[in-house]
């Protein structure tokens, strides 16, 4: 039991340090590579903590490698637009000037209902109030209103 507690403590400290190394984005909006890193890190940490047969280093070394690689990848993607596009793709326009773009809906695997729901969340009761809906790299949808109608913000 002492071993498990000690290992949990070691991994808690190490994961905190690794997350700090990778920056604040990791705890907020995540891009594809960041999501992969976070999922991998949690899996890598769990095994050596719970399985006493596995040496601590079998968890520590892959964790250090994955988090360091993530920092390197994010640095390169910040410097190179081409690499960034390759890794995270481009924003996809799903709705524009009163019409859904079916080709892009298929590409993004999003239904019209999803877009309408996202518009309602953003305070637009009907699609005619919306100019454009864009699926961003982070997976969030940006809903841009038409010039004239104002969104029905609650309480405003």
């Amino acid at each position: 039991m002492t071993v498990i507690l000690t290992r949990a403590l070691v991994f808690y400290i190490l994961l905190t340090l690794m997350m700090k190394l990778m920056g604040k984005r990791q705890i907020g909006e995540m891009q594809l590579s960041e999501l992969v890193t976070t999922v991998l890190m949690s899996e890598l940490a769990v095994l050596p903590v719970t399985d006493g047969d596995i040496p601590l280093l079998h968890g520590l070394l892959p964790m250090l490698t994955v988090s360091s690689l993530e920092v390197v990848v994010s640095y390169i993607s910040r410097k190179s637009a081409r690499f960034r596009r390759l890794l995270n793709g481009n924003p996809i326009t799903l709705f524009e000037r009163g019409a859904f773009i079916e080709q892009n809906l298929t590409k993004a695997r999003v239904s019209q209902d999803d877009i309408e729901a996202q518009c309602r969340i953003n305070g637009f009761a009907e699609m005619k109030e919306v100019e454009t809906v864009i699926l961003e790299r982070t997976g969030k949808m940006s809903v841009l209103p038409k010039k004239n109608p104002k969104p029905n913000q609650s309480g405003e």
């Binding site: 190394l21 990778m22 920056g23 006493g52 047969d53 596995i54 040496p55 601590l56 280093l57 079998h58 070394l61 250090l64 490698t65 988090s67 360091s68 690689l69 993530e70 920092v71 390197v72 640095y75």
Partner: protein, 104 residues
């Protein structure tokens, strides 16, 4: 930029550490197997007892326990345990050896 430099240093350290530990453990295993083959079994067992704690940082406990069990059996007079001890040391060597064999 600072984080980038730290990450590169960490990557290099991890690579060097992994390579060094692989080389050290496999050379230790080679020495133990060589001593057993040349008949200096006592020397091989004392070498194993001296370094097994250090090796346990890199190798699964079950593999250490297996080698340890056969070493104890041999020390208590069971000569048939020696080939199994050598086999378990060879397995540790195969697992930890730095190389690209069986990578996938």
């Amino acid at each position: 930029m600072d984080n980038f430099v730290i990450a590169i240093i960490l990557l290099v350290l991890v690579f060097v550490f992994t390579a060094a530990s692989g080389v050290l453990i496999s050379s230790l295993c080679d020495r133990i197997i060589g001593l057993c083959d040349s008949g200096s079994v006592k020397e091989a067992l004392s070498l194993w007892n001296e370094y097994k704690n250090a090796v346990s940082f890199f190798v699964r406990d079950s593999e250490i326990d297996t080698a340890d069990t056969f070493a104890s059996k041999f020390e208590s007079g069971d000569a048939s345990a020696l080939p199994r001890f050598i086999e378990s040391i060879s397995e540790i060597k195969a697992t930890e050896r730095f190389g690209f064999l069986n990578l996938f």
